[in-house]
Every structure is written in structure tokens, then in C-alpha cells.
């Protein structure tokens, strides 16, 4: 009994409730004519698409910068990488590699500036990050219209200038990572091995990074700044490194998302990612100042599971589309819950 209580306390009520809910959805699915393998396929694909973005939360949470509501900054770097790669008309592996290089390079610059800013506003990072993300999206909206992109498949057809709202990558680097070593289990279940391997690789890099000297220093800054200062760690520098890392991971995550989705979504699309991504890592058991790779995996799986299963199962069960509202309540409720918990 004590063991169960301890387990519940460790695992947390929200996760248990959502986990059971998800399990119930999977069990109920066949009774309402929803194919389990299709659902599983959707969950796996969405997991692969979103996991790296959720992973990008980890460095900033670890360094004490809080939840990265400013993830649009990194996502935009990824979007620029993608459109620049399209501009060069690069196809296949070359295309996505160039997108990665440009995206990561820009993310490093953005991340550095963003980190400098966040160092000036210690204690208020989260609200400021949210608004920095929002303002940056609208600033870039103007840029998407002004910047001289030329590729006919990415600019608006009738004017020949200004980027489209959604740009198809079908002819360029669609599913380059997803289809790597893919396993066709059945017609409805194709395991996107490449995407999952890529996530595993990224997660391994992050895990490895936190085992290095710099990584340990970042964790020290996050868990006890005074102690870190006393042991001669430059707090500001470590925070900037973590913010840069987060931003770069977000850029990579965005490109992986795009190649699987088949479209580069421009303009306001990054806004749709900030709260769900934060909610996912919290759902996985992270708190405002502590997160691990395991949190990312559990969280993304649970969150994307709910997102895919609720529309199909609940809608066929009671013919009411409550999935959108469930998503709003679960994701935002999770964030409120995490924010109201005592720090440490």
C-alpha cells in the first residue's frame, strides 16, 4: 500500500488520470469501429513529429530559465532554414541537410540574443518569453511578405512575391527522414523508424551533453544558482548556452515536423506550438525547474495520444466533437497546475 502511494506520489495524479484515459480510449476504440492500427500509426507519426520540439524544453528548464514559451523563436529559425533550402531548389537529403544547417545556424544566433535578453529578466522569463515569441512571429510575418523569395512553389502565385501560407515540400524533401528504414506492418500501420531513430539520436545527444562538464554546470545553475556561483560557474554564460541549445533543438524539431507533414506552414503557425509543447513536457512529469528525457518521451506520447484518440473515438462514440475543447482544457490546465506547484 505504501509502495502504491509512493508510486502515485512520484508519478503524479494528472499523469495517472490521463494515462488511464488514454488506455480506456485504446480499449474502447475497436467497439466504435476505430481501427487500432490506424490509431497506433497516427500516434507514432505524431510522436515523431513533435518529440524533438518537446525535447527542446529540457535545456532551458534545467538551467532555471523556466518553461520555454518562447519556442516560436526557434521554430522560426527552422522555418527560415526550410524556405532557404527550397529557394536553392535542393531535393532529397541535400535539401533537408541544408535546411538543418541554415536553421541551426540561425537558431544559434537567435538563441544567443534571446539568451542575452532572458539574462536581463531573471525571474520573469516565462511571461516575457511568451510575449517575445508572439512579437517575433508578427515581426517575421512582415518579413515573409517583404523578403525577396523567388521559388515559384513558395511565393504567392498571383503576385509572385511574399511567401504562401502553406508551402508544399512534396517535390523537395517530403518524408526524407520519416521513410528512412520504415517498416510496413500493415496497410494502416507504417512505423516511421527514421523519425524515431532521429529523435533517439537527438535525445542521446542531449543526454550526453548533460553528462559533460558544461551540462553538469547548467544543471547546477538551474537547481541552485547561489551554489553554482560559489563554485565559480558563470551563471549568465550557462543560461545562454542552454537557451541556444533549446532554440537550436526547436529549429531541428520544426524541420522534422515539416518533412513529415509535407508542408511548411508560415505566418502564425508557430503560435500554435508554444502551449501544446510546454503542456506535453509537463504531462510527462517535468516541473517548472526539472525535466528529463524520460519526461519528454512519456509526455509526448500521452499528449499526442490524447490528441489523436479523442477525435476518432469520442466522436464515433457520442457524435459530439469535444476533442478540441478537451485539448484546450488538458493542455492549459496542465500548465496552470505546474505553475501553481511550489518550486522545488
Amino acid at each position: 500500500m505504501v509502495a502504491i502511494k509512493g508510486f502515485i506520489k512520484d508519478f503524479g495524479w494528472p499523469r495517472i488520470i490521463i494515462g488511464l484515459f488514454l488506455l480506456a480510449l485504446f480499449v474502447a476504440a475497436p467497439f466504435f469501429g476505430v481501427r487500432v492500427d490506424t490509431s497506433l500509426n497516427d500516434v507514432l507519426v505524431r510522436f515523431g513529429m513533435n518529440a524533438i520540439m518537446v525535447l527542446s524544453m529540457v535545456p532551458m528548464i534545467q538551467s532555471g530559465c523556466g518553461l520555454n514559451f518562447g519556442i516560436p523563436v526557434g521554430l522560426i529559425a527552422g522555418m527560415i532554414g526550410a524556405v532557404v533550402s527550397l529557394e536553392f531548389n535542393l531535393v532529397g537529403l541535400a535539401g533537408i541537410v541544408v535546411a538543418f544547417i541554415v536553421g541551426i545556424a540561425l537558431a544559434a544566433i537567435f538563441g544567443f540574443l534571446y539568451g542575452l535578453l532572458l539574462n536581463r529578466v531573471k525571474g520573469d522569463e516565462m511571461i516575457i518569453a511568451t510575449y517575445v515569441g508572439f512579437s517575433f512571429v508578427f515581426f517575421m510575418n512582415m518579413m515573409w511578405l517583404i523578403l525577396p523569395f523567388k521559388n515559384p512553389s513558395s511565393v504567392q502565385g498571383f503576385k509572385g512575391e511574399g511567401l504562401r501560407v502553406t508551402i508544399s515540400v512534396e517535390d523537395y524533401w517530403y518524408h526524407v527522414i520519416s521513410d528512412f528504414l520504415k517498416i510496413d506492418v500493415s496497410k494502416y500501420l507504417i512505423i516511421p523508424t527514421g523519425m524515431i531513430l532521429f529523435f533517439a539520436f537527438m535525445a542521446f545527444l542531449v543526454w550526453g551533453f548533460f553528462k559533460t562538464k558544461t551540462g553538469t554546470a547548467i544543471t547546477a545553475v538551474g537547481s541552485n544558482p547561489d551554489y553554482a556561483r560559489a563554485s565559480g560557474i558563470s551563471i549568465d554564460k550557462m543560461r545562454i548556452v542552454s537557451v541556444m541549445l533549446s532554440t537550436m533543438l526547436a529549429a531541428i524539431g520544426m524541420i522534422v515536423y515539416q518533412q513529415s507533414f509535407g508542408f511548411v506552414q508560415m505566418y502564425n503557425s508557430p503560435l500554435a506550438f508554444s502551449f501544446p509543447t510546454v503542456a506535453a513536457v509537463l504531462l510527462g512529469g517535468a516541473s517548472v525547474n526539472k525535466a528529463s528525457i524520460l519526461n519528454v518521451i512519456i509526455g509526448t506520447f500521452l499528449f499526442q495520444g490524447i490528441l489523436t484518440m479523442t477525435p476518432s473515438v469520442i466522436n464515433s462514440a457520442i457524435n459530439i466533437d469535444v476533442s478540441e475543447i478537451i485539448r484546450i482544457i488538458v493542455s492549459n490546465g496542465m500548465i496552470v497546475y505546474a505553475l501553481t506547484r511550489k518550486a522545488r
Binding site: F69, L117, R120, V121, K122, G123, D124, M126, I127, I128, T130, Y131, V132, F134, S135, F138, F139, N141, M142, L145, I146, G162, F275, I320, V322, I325, I328, I329, N332, G333, I335, V336, L339, T340, R341
Partner: protein, 369 residues
């Protein structure tokens, strides 16, 4: 020298934002090719619409809780009131008053809930209040989309979606201009709704009066320092909850006034941007996250909306693309809130560093003797 620099810095942060906006607007007005009368008329309209909402932000700032992004809760309560009034078919000013009566208890409950939540998130009230408003927006949608018309009976079927339950996305309000048409006068082509302005004046007097009550003093003390107030015997948590409850109720009335001026209710996302625009207007008026006055609110509303009207047209005439102006004003709205938050937080951090430095110098002095 140091003192002078501080004073200058304070003056700069106090007036740099309004001045910047004034300059942007002055440049953009001729470019937008609007006439003076049209602009005056628009500004009066915007003042009527928005200043009450902006004023509702003042009390939580006084209580040291920053900008209450959770004012959206109040706005949603106000909208629920209006939905019911429209269903009951009560028109004009009495309808608005009844809507306020219906909405007040909802606003009080939501405000109380918000207060409790924010007390558990001290030091990060702003982000928590923002997330809370998004969370409650989900419940609000659930209430209007699934409960209204199914569990809660509605008289007028025309308000419901074709499937038989759930309120329609846009509602024409029967109570439109209910307050505006009381005592409306016209000066040189500019219609001035004196009735609404009187209500706004009333809330200004209420705020001034409230500041000098016992509770008002307590709030200010809590805003200056929670620890000190606690040892002085002020119930800190209770005072903070009260400030949020009052703010939420005022925001609820503010949204009712806003919507009676507009005349149509955008049921599901009408309240989303309320907090952003109110916060931006207040900050444009020279308020900071820690200090805001009534003139800040009124001047800010006028300036912010002047820019808001002028910018899209100016942008269209300069670049030939209407969307640029549209994005620019969204960028400015978010940007000004970002900038104000950054300036405030940066200043607080510098003050803290300076305190630590002077403490170290003080501590080092006796040792060096």
C-alpha cells in the same frame, strides 16, 4: 551623479513609450489620408469602448500582482451575461444592467478562483493568469457549445446552432448602444456618448476613492512588500484575492460596455485579445508593471487606438500591401507589452544588484578601518 542618472532613467521609462507612440502616430496620420473629424470620431468611439477594460487592470497592479491577464475571465463572464440577456430579449440600457447583474456572480466566482490560483503562484502571477485565462476559455467554450440549449434551456432558437444546441458563433446584440444612446450629443460631426463617459468617470472616481479606503491602503502595502505587510498584520493572501475579484468584476462590466458599443458578440473568441489590447493600451500610456494611474489608462487607450486605426492604412499606402500594416499593428501591440515587461524586469534586477553592491560596500567598510 548616480541619483541624477536614476531620476533621468525613471523619467525616460515613464514617458519614452507614450512619446514613441505619439511620434509614430504623427508620422502615420498624414500617410493614412484620414480626415481629422473621422479620427476624432474614431478615438472617441475607442475611448468609450476600451477605457473601462483598461481601468480594470489598475487594482492588481497596485497590489503588486502585475498585469492581470486573467481579466479575460471577467470578460467571459460579461459575455455569458449578454448571451442570456439576448436570449431573454431584453433591450436597451435595462438589458445591459440586467446582463451585469447576471454576470457579476459569475465574475466573482471566477475572480475568487483566479485569486486562489495566483496565491499559489507568487512571483509568476502574470504567466499564471494568462494560462488560467486560456484554461477557463476551454470551459467557457464547453459551457456555450454543449450545455447551452441542451441542459440550459434557450427561448430563441435563432441563437442556437442548426444542430439544436450550442450558441451561434456571432450574435447580434439587442442591447447594442444601450448606454451610448443615453445623452448622446454631437459636436462638429463627432458623436459623443455622454452616458457611457459618465459610467467611465464613475469608475475613475471609484478607483480614486478606493485607494484611500483601508482595503486600498492594504493593497498598496501588499504591493510594496508581502513580507512586511504580513508582519504588519495585513491578511496578504486575502487582500490579493480581493484585488483580483474586483478587477475581474470590473473587466466583466468593461466587456459589457465594449460589446454594447460594437453591437455584435463574437461568441467564442471575442474575449481572447481583450487582455492583450488592454495591457498594451495601459503600457502605451506610460504605466509600468508596478505602477499605473488613471491618466496612464486614458491617454494610453487614446494613443494606442489612434495607432491602431492609422497603421493599416498607412502601411497600405506605403507598401501597397494591406497585410503589412495589419501585421505591424499586431507586432506593435505585442511588442509594446514585451518591451514594458522587459524594462520593468530589467530595472528590478538592476535595483537588486545595486542593493547587493551597496550592502557589500557597507559590510566591507568597517573591516577596512
Amino acid at each position: 551623479m548616480n541619483y541624477d542618472k536614476n531620476k533621468l532613467g525613471k523619467m525616460m521609462t515613464g514617458s519614452v513609450v507614450p512619446l514613441m507612440f505619439l511620434i509614430i502616430s504623427v508620422i502615420a496620420i498624414p500617410l493614412s489620408q484620414f480626415t481629422g473629424v473621422y479620427l476624432m470620431d474614431q478615438i472617441v468611439t475607442r475611448l468609450v469602448r476600451n477605457s473601462f477594460l483598461v481601468l480594470s487592470l489598475l487594482l492588481p497592479i497596485m497590489a503588486g500582482m502585475g498585469i492581470n491577464f486573467g481579466m479575460v475571465l471577467g470578460a467571459m463572464a460579461g459575455q455569458i451575461g449578454l448571451v442570456f440577456i439576448t436570449d431573454w430579449g431584453i433591450k436597451g440600457a435595462p438589458g445591459l444592467l440586467l446582463a451585469a447583474v447576471v454576470a457579476t456572480p459569475i465574475a466573482i466566482i471566477l475572480g475568487y478562483f483566479a485569486g486562489i490560483v495566483l496565491n499559489r503562484a507568487k512571483g509568476r502571477e502574470m504567466i499564471t493568469s494568462m494560462m488560467l485565462s486560456l484554461f477557463i476559455a476551454g470551459i467557457y467554450q464547453f459551457f456555450l457549445l454543449y450545455l447551452c440549449g441542451s441542459i440550459i434551456p434557450f427561448k430563441s432558437a435563432g441563437m442556437l446552432l442548426s444542430r439544436g444546441y450550442g450558441v451561434r458563433n456571432a450574435l447580434d446584440l439587442g442591447v447594442a448602444k444601450g448606454f451610448d444612446n443615453l445623452l448622446k450629443i454631437n459636436i462638429g460631426g463627432v458623436g459623443i456618448p455622454v452616458g457611457t463617459f459618465l459610467i467611465i468617470a464613475l469608475i475613475c472616481f471609484f478607483t480614486i476613492w478606493f485607494r484611500n479606503t483601508k482595503l486600498g491602503h492594504d493593497m498598496r502595502a501588499v504591493g510594496l512588500g508581502m513580507g512586511v505587510s504580513d508582519s504588519a498584520g495585513i491578511a496578504v493572501e486575502k487582500t490579493r484575492i480581493q484585488s483580483i475579484v474586483i478587477s475581474t468584476v470590473l473587466a466583466c462590466y468593461g466587456q459589457i460596455i465594449y460589446l454594447q458599443n460594437i453591437g455584435t458578440l463574437n461568441t467564442y473568441n471575442g474575449a481572447d485579445q481583450a487582455a492583450l489590447f488592454a495591457a498594451a493600451a495601459l503600457l502605451v500610456g506610460g504605466a509600468t508593471v508596478a505602477r499605473a494611474t488613471i491618466p496612464n489608462a486614458i491617454i494610453g487607450t487614446a494613443l494606442f487606438h489612434l495607432m491602431f486605426i492609422v497603421m493599416p492604412m498607412a502601411g497600405k499606402y506605403i507598401t501597397g500591401q494591406a497585410m503589412i500594416g495589419e501585421y505591424f499593428r499586431m507586432f506593435i501591440s505585442y511588442g509594446v507589452v514585451t518591451l514594458a515587461l522587459i524594462l520593468h524586469s530589467w530595472k528590478r534586477q538592476k535595483d537588486k544588484d545595486m542593493d547587493r553592491l551597496s550592502f557589500r560596500i557597507d559590510a566591507a567598510k568597517p573591516a577596512s578601518k
